[in-house]
Amino acid sequence: MTRLYAWMLRWLRPDVPADLRHEMTATFAGVMSASSSEGPLRVARAAAAEYADAALARFRRDPLEPRQRHPGPARGPSFVPSVQDWRSAVRRAFAHPGYAATVAGVLALGIAVNTIVFSVADSTLFRGLPYPNGPQLIEVFNMDPAGKFSFPGLAPDTFAEWREQTDVFEALEGWNYGSFILLGGAEPQRINGAYVTPGLFDALGVRPIRGHGFEPRDGEPGRDDRVIISERLWHQRFGARDDAIGQQIALNDRPYTIVGVMPPHFRFPASHQLLWLPAALEQPARGRLQGYGRLTRGLTREAAQTRLDTLAASLAIEKPRADGWRLKLAPARGSVPNASMARALQILTGAVLIVLLIACANLANLGVAQALARRRELAIRAALGASRLRLVRELFAEQLFLACAGGAVGLALAVWGVQLAIALAPAELTLWTPGEIRIDGRILAFTAGLTLASAVLFGIVPAWRASRADASDALKTRASSALAHGRLRTGLVIVEVALSVVLLTGAALLIRSFVSLTQQDPGFDPRGLVTVQFEVPADRYPAGARRAFLEQVAGEIRRVPGVTAVSIADGVAPRGGAIYFGQLEIEGRARESGETVLPATSVDPSYLATMRIPIIAGRGFTSDDPQTSAVVSRSLAHTLSGNAGNAIGARFRLTTSGAWYTVIGVAGEVRQSRQMERETVYEMYQPIWRPSTAPAAPAAVRASAGGARTFVSYTFAVRAADATAVTTPIKQAIWRVDASQPVGDVLPAEALLAQSLSEDRFAAALMGAFATLALVLATAGLFAVLAQLVAQRRQEIGVRMALGASIRDVVRLIVGRGLAMTIAGVAIGLAGAWASARFLASQLSGVSTHDPLSFTIVPVVLIGVALLASWIPARRALTVNPVDALRAE
């Protein structure tokens, strides 16, 4: 305690000479030791009082001149406020709590919302990799021999070859996804991990917090049974105990020894990787490795690329490969959320900037109002000899004090708000964020700087102008004063209203779109439907044994009380199965030129009935249908042959897969995920099993949406009387068949549908919140201007009433002024909203960018709110007693 006191004195009391500080510290120690017998609470209180006293004593008045103002040391002209300026600033702030609270509140809100949104956007979209070596890292991609497109994943043999090129790469490391079943917990857990080359973490510059990293030969046979776990898993499984190092965990039925624990917030490559295994290049079974590296010192990326191109050309002659040797270097930036999420974030960033602008306009408005109110006081003080510099210093101190108070509250709100935003954000947003989402100092400095600057600038400039006014003028002029200021303030209010119209319209469009999405028919009956995500380890249940296993599980689920039907598929919309790409070729017709995206779900014969997806034409599958038969959506049927009925028997294929499909039925449209919806309108179904009668046929090459290497994804669609009641019994039914089989999400379909809209909900909710904030700020601005107007024109109103003006006339004067400003703002704002609505186009569904309802409701709401905001000042004007008003004159 005493050391803290000494330390505090040194920093806060440079005015006290060192020897006196020692003396004070000794005295403090004496006081504290005397109070130490009085209980901890008293000691703490005494200590707090002592600390505060030491920090503040220099600002006290001269103890020997208690009645006089502190004359202060003689000083040259300076903009730096003196202690006395600060004192009077603080006093003034407490004397005008309304003004002070409004300025500080507007600042706090402006700083908080901007910091929150910019921090989230920056963490997820813009910030580089959060590893110590992040800036020097490059990502290494393959390029096809023609140099047209690049793709990740270097074959292990080329990887080894490139590693030799040490004049280009100082380090070249790689990684690949891995999926595992982790046993030993409450239930078998399917977890994600990654295989990494032993030197990868060193290349990133990240070291384990417990244990050690991989050693150079780890991953080779005999040294491949080691694992580094994430801090999260360490907490979950080992309670963060140090003895976790050296313990074994069972992954995919094999024991692995824990050698290290990575630091918190270490995410590689994404947040759901819970552990890392060593990958050796000599083990090609690990598959292609995605390359991460550091260039040799002094080599630019461009120079390295040129060098690699030359090397690739000579290697292609030396050791020809079908996929060539070309590489592409890119700055490593980790993965980013999908394009639509990124777009949504950009829109929100724009929205929050508008809120910031409105906040600044509001501060300007308040500053002008305050200056106007203090015009007389300032003019008189100037006339009595106060220097203008002194007056401005005082105002500066006052604004700065309010700004700091607002900034502190804003910072606290931002810290809390970022946590809230993470909690509310869709998983897609945070999954790929390489680091922790946190408040960025630069962003905080920017928003705080901007709002502080506007608070100070708009607080001082008008006051400076006011103080210049001739005292006699300032004292004489009343009703007619400050016309110029009035124009400025009117302009500011119009700008605020216009900007909030833009935001409100955007919010209305997003909310309408979200509502329309929730009301859309999903194409199947989600009530009483449960989906069970299920990943079967391919090694334990190879292709031949899988069907028997799955049907056994389905049979067990069917026995759960309340379950009426169970079907097997490789996915259920909106989390579909596979996605086919390629040019669509229809038998008897020319190939279509563009790329077609075709979501395809492999289903068992009962699937369409279980889901209650209507068959429009033809029939559903039987167990005898070959895997080349297809049920297509109505949209695909239309493309194939003009209408649903004619499509039966039509044959089509995608050029990349090769297999020809024959249409046996046409089904109703099923809603796809939001992202897939933007890509395509088509859907198809195909049998999941080969017909029992047919011999083995080559399966089509499919691009699985899941991407798991050693797991095959299936989904059970389960019909039950009560969807929420059967989720636990379903899991137990699965474990009765295989106790080590992990079960993924068991979700009522309605929850799954809601989840698929989480992005839209997030964007609509945030936009709605910002628009509301904008509306409140703009209304406050309008209200302030009108209230000031009434205060300024009290006498005039009194005279008018004395001369026989009716209540209507007075109300019309005030409300008319408010309405005029609002209508001007609304008109400008609507034009702006109309023009900027196209930025929202990609986010909207079921509502046009120029939705008439949104563009009508917003002006109505704004004008309504404006009328309310005008009504209160108007009523105040009506209470003016003509006699009092005239007497004051």
Binding site: A26, V31, A34, E50, A54, A57, D62, P63, L64, P66
Partner: protein, 121 residues
Amino acid sequence: MSERDPRSFLPLTPAVFHVLLALASGERHGYGIIQDVTAATGGAVTLRTGTLYTILKRLLEEALIVESERRPGPDEDDERRRYYALTPLGRRVAQTEAQRLDQVVGLARSRRMLPSRGGGR
């Protein structure tokens, strides 16, 4: 150098007055002053270190007190500690303030704000 009129310092703040009174009975170091003031007022007045040294600094500047050269016995002395003593001016200022307060108290008594001296007890 002519001495300043003691009356020009009046009225003293309670804290300053208590510091002067504490030094009236002999020289003390900073913590000694705090102890004395607390004891003399029964805890009603608690001086804080920062305030005390601000007051001491001003009192030194106005020559109402001086730093004492003398030290108590070496066993109870701490080399960091300075001792302060009243100057004749300081003593006069404290006396003048006491007289002023006495007059005020007398006035209060005559207006029956306090029980009169000798009676009441």
